[in-house]
């Protein structure tokens, strides 16, 4: 069959043209701020979308001629990070503003994905309103700040007043030491059969929740409240498993060995977090839960599993330190920050957008809408905020005793090593000593041997 060269070339040319066109899209329009954020995978949850749409309107009104383009990324947490990191690698895809989890922000800083905000913050009076621990959350190892936090979270003990009444425990329970917590659980086990006395997350299936909601809540309660038991800032090294680490693991071991927690197979079910919030607590099957401040988000009207009575049924207590040593209570905090990518086309405009989001009124609106905990003193002190929802005041007061994770680049791997140690004592595969030394080995591996004994 005779073939005219032009006819054959045409499709090839078309393909080439299409491919070039694909690569041509860029966000370099000087009048548009492109804002990337994590959209809920649950279609009925529109909290962030609604809030940002409102800010967009305010911003465009105050900045005539400028436009905001919202770029939602609809994905669960881990996939969101992956997608975002891929976008940040290239100036063609990098947005002007991104929503970053403090869990990973230091990794992205080390990668050079983000821009230091210090020059902007120096000229922004509101920055002084942010509490110090929150300011530190988005600080890189170089001492520069790379993000503006839009709230935080804290953790504590939730307990069922019904189950406590049946067990003869007080409705205004506040344990002073770890033993008080375990004793309450033992009492429930003895007097109220058929319920789970105490839930603490454990093992790899639940991931970071096991590390943060359980292990670090314990570990940070073994020190004096000021020293970081995981990471030594002075030498920039990670701390090998020591006495505090073993004590925290022993707590987990005790819970599962004495059958004070859920059945081990349930505890290691990847969906256990949903069960705690959706089944065990609302159905009165769980005595005490060590969990986060965000639980009521799931019980709000319109969430599909409303439970407005929770504030009557559940009590709240701060997690005590190991022996009740000062400051008496412990909490961990995380949260998200707004950051400007190093490859952003319009960083100045992006910071203006942050300023619009972080006026006192807008910040307050956001904390209340997403059950967040204020990181601005002026909002935390405002009665309109503290009274907006039951529990808000309790969890906001914990901010004084809270810790942020040493979220340096190796942290995700360190966290996995912690989960493995927890899992092995939970299943009884290893003793506390064995699990601790396995942790130290894994830690050396994960951090290129940047480990110090203490």
């Amino acid at each position: 069959m005779p073939v005219r060269p032009t006819a054959a070339l045409l499709p090839a040319l078309l393909v080439a043209a299409t491919l070039t066109a694909c690569g041509g899209g860029s966000g370099s329009d000087p009048d548009t701020v492109r804002v990337s954020f994590k959209q809920s995978t649950d279609n009925s949850v529109k909290v962030m979308d609604t809030y940002l749409a409102d800010i967009k309107k305010q911003f465009e009104k105050a900045h005539p001629g400028k436009k905001v383009e919202l770029v939602p990324i609809k994905a669960p947490d881990s996939e969101y990070y992956t997608k975002l990191q891929q976008m940040l690698r290239s100036p063609k895809t990098a947005p002007d503003l991104v929503y970053e989890d403090t869990f990973l922000i230091n990794s992205d800083i080390t990668s050079g994905y983000l821009k230091p905000l210090d020059p902007y913050l120096a000229k922004w009076p509101d920055w002084n309103r942010f509490i110090d621990t929150a300011k530190a959350a988005a600080k890189g190892e170089d001492g520069k700040t790379y993000g503006v936090p839009d709230g935080t979270d804290t953790r504590g003990l939730w307990f069922s007043k019904d189950i406590f009444a049946k067990a003869g425990l007080p409705a205004d329970w506040q344990p002073k030491t770890w033993n008080d917590v375990l004793d309450a659980a033992r009492t429930i086990k003895k007097k109220v059969p058929g319920v789970i006395p105490l839930n603490v997350y454990t093992g790899k299936p639940v991931g970071e929740a096991a590390t943060m909601q359980t292990f670090e809540m314990l570990l940070y309660g073994t020190t004096d409240g000021g020293t970081d038991p995981l990471y030594d800032k002075a030498s920039k090294k990670w701390i090998a498993g020591g006495q505090g680490f073993e004590d925290a693991l022993s707590f987990v071991e005790t819970v599962y060995e004495e059958k004070l927690g859920p059945d081990v197979s349930d505890a290691l079910d990847p969906n256990v977090m949903t069960r705690v919030r959706g089944e065990w607590l609302p159905q009165g099957e769980l005595g005490i839960a060590l969990d986060g401040s965000w639980l009521p988000q799931d019980w709000l009207p319109g969430s599909g599993h409303e439970w407005p009575e929770w504030s009557r049924v559940l009590g709240l207590a701060a997690m005590p330190t190991q022996h009740g040593q000062a400051p008496g209570k412990v909490s961990m905090s995380g949260g998200w920050t707004w950051s400007i990518p190093a490859k952003a086309a319009n960083p100045d405009l992006a910071f203006d957008f942050i300023r619009t989001m972080q006026t006192k009124a807008n910040a307050q609106k956001w904390y209340i809408a997403n059950s967040g905990i204020a990181v601005r003193e002026d909002v935390a002190e405002d009665p309109a905020y503290a009274g907006a929802q039951p529990g808000i005041k309790f969890f906001t007061d914990l901010v004084a005793a809270t810790h942020y994770r040493p979220a340096y680049p190796a942290y995700p791997k360190v966290s996995t090593a912690i989960q493995e140690a927890m899992e092995s004592v939970t299943t009884g595969d290893a003793s506390v000593e064995e699990a601790t030394s396995a942790y130290t080995d894994a830690l050396k591996d994960a951090t290129d041997n940047q480990v110090v004994e203490r």
Partner: protein, 306 residues
């Protein structure tokens, strides 16, 4: 399966070099160009890029600049207990669910359905194929619900007064293997149904007249005749099973304690949870190697002539 008689034009080509070579050849190949360009761009390109990344310490985040590390990722893998555990589990999973489960069950179903009445055939086929067309994640959730402690399987066992247990916890690799059999048998069944239909009736009838019973007919007549289909089916099944991710992820996340963590899950954990793209890619290449080893074995088995 047609016999491959030598093509007349190909045999003639060497006698007339001008027809095959010379200035006309590039023009003749031109229509292939778009396909070749596309293949190079979207298939060979990423594979070559993966090959390169596997020899670097590239991370998704937490690193300013990646560097070339040679064979480090590979030596690291073979010294990594979790990797070896994943290789072992991958083999168990593949042998249990693909070689034994999907393959045998598919053949059995196909053979039985030939003798069944039309309604039974349609119904069985429908059910089996439904399991196959369900998205992997949906199938994963269904089987999670089946195996979990308060799940259907335990309800049935309770009803039969048999001891129940949390299958996903006690025997995770068996549970996910079963899930894969449940989901993937339809493919084998369809392949074997087609192959069995190709066997000429006369041969089976002749064997029957010669006095061969059901089993002997199966062993000496049917199986040798569908040998090629068996090989193809095994190869496709194995390759598909080796890369199963969603099903296991939904049911167990590779747990508990890594007891159902096959290579794809291990790879995902390294690449996207620990951000070690370089290491994860090296593991992916090793998985490719496992797949090609299986394929080689099947190809060898197929080579002996009837």
């Amino acid at each position: 399966m047609t016999a491959t008689a030598p093509h007349p034009r190909l045999t003639k080509a060497p006698t007339d070099p001008h027809r095959a070579r010379g200035p006309r050849l590039p023009v003749r190949l031109l229509p292939l160009a778009p396909a070749v360009v596309l293949l190079l761009l979207f298939l060979a390109g990423p594979i070559a890029y993966c090959g390169y990344i596997a020899f670097t310490d590239l991370q998704l985040t937490g690193q300013a600049q990646e560097s070339f590390v040679g064979l480090d990722n590979f030596t690291r893998a073979f010294g990594d207990e979790e990797f070896l555990n994943a290789v072992w589990l991958t083999l168990v999973f593949t042998v249990l669910s693909s070689l034994i489960g999907q393959n045998t069950l598919g053949l059995a179903l196909a053979a039985l359905m030939r003798r069944a009445s039309k309604p039974v055939r349609t119904l069985t086929g429908g059910i089996v194929v439904t399991a196959w067309v369900l998205p992997e994640v949906v199938a994963g959730f269904l089987l999670y619900a089946f195996f979990r402690r308060e799940g259907t399987l335990n309800a049935i066992l309770d009803w039969l007064h048999l001891p129940s247990q949390n299958w996903l916890f006690t025997l995770p690799i068996l549970a996910v293997s079963f899930a894969n059999v449940w989901r993937g048998t339809a493919f084998s069944m369809l392949v074997y149904s087609a192959a069995l239909n190709e066997i000429p009736k006369e041969i089976t009838e002749a064997a029957e007249v010669d006095g061969a019973g059901g089993w002997r007919r199966m062993w000496h007549v049917t199986l040798p005749m569908i040998r090629r289909s068996i090989g193809t089916n095994l190869m496709l099944n194995t390759l598909q099973t080796l890369s199963v991710f969603g099903l296991i992820w939904v049911m167990t996340r590779g747990g508990p304690g890594g007891r159902s963590q096959t290579l794809p899950l291990f790879m995902y954990e390294q690449a996207f949870q620990n951000s070690l793209i370089g290491y994860g890619t090296a593991v992916a290449l090793l998985l490719l190697l496992v797949g090609s080893l299986f394929s080689l074995v099947y190809l060898r088995l197929l080579r002996t002539e009837v």
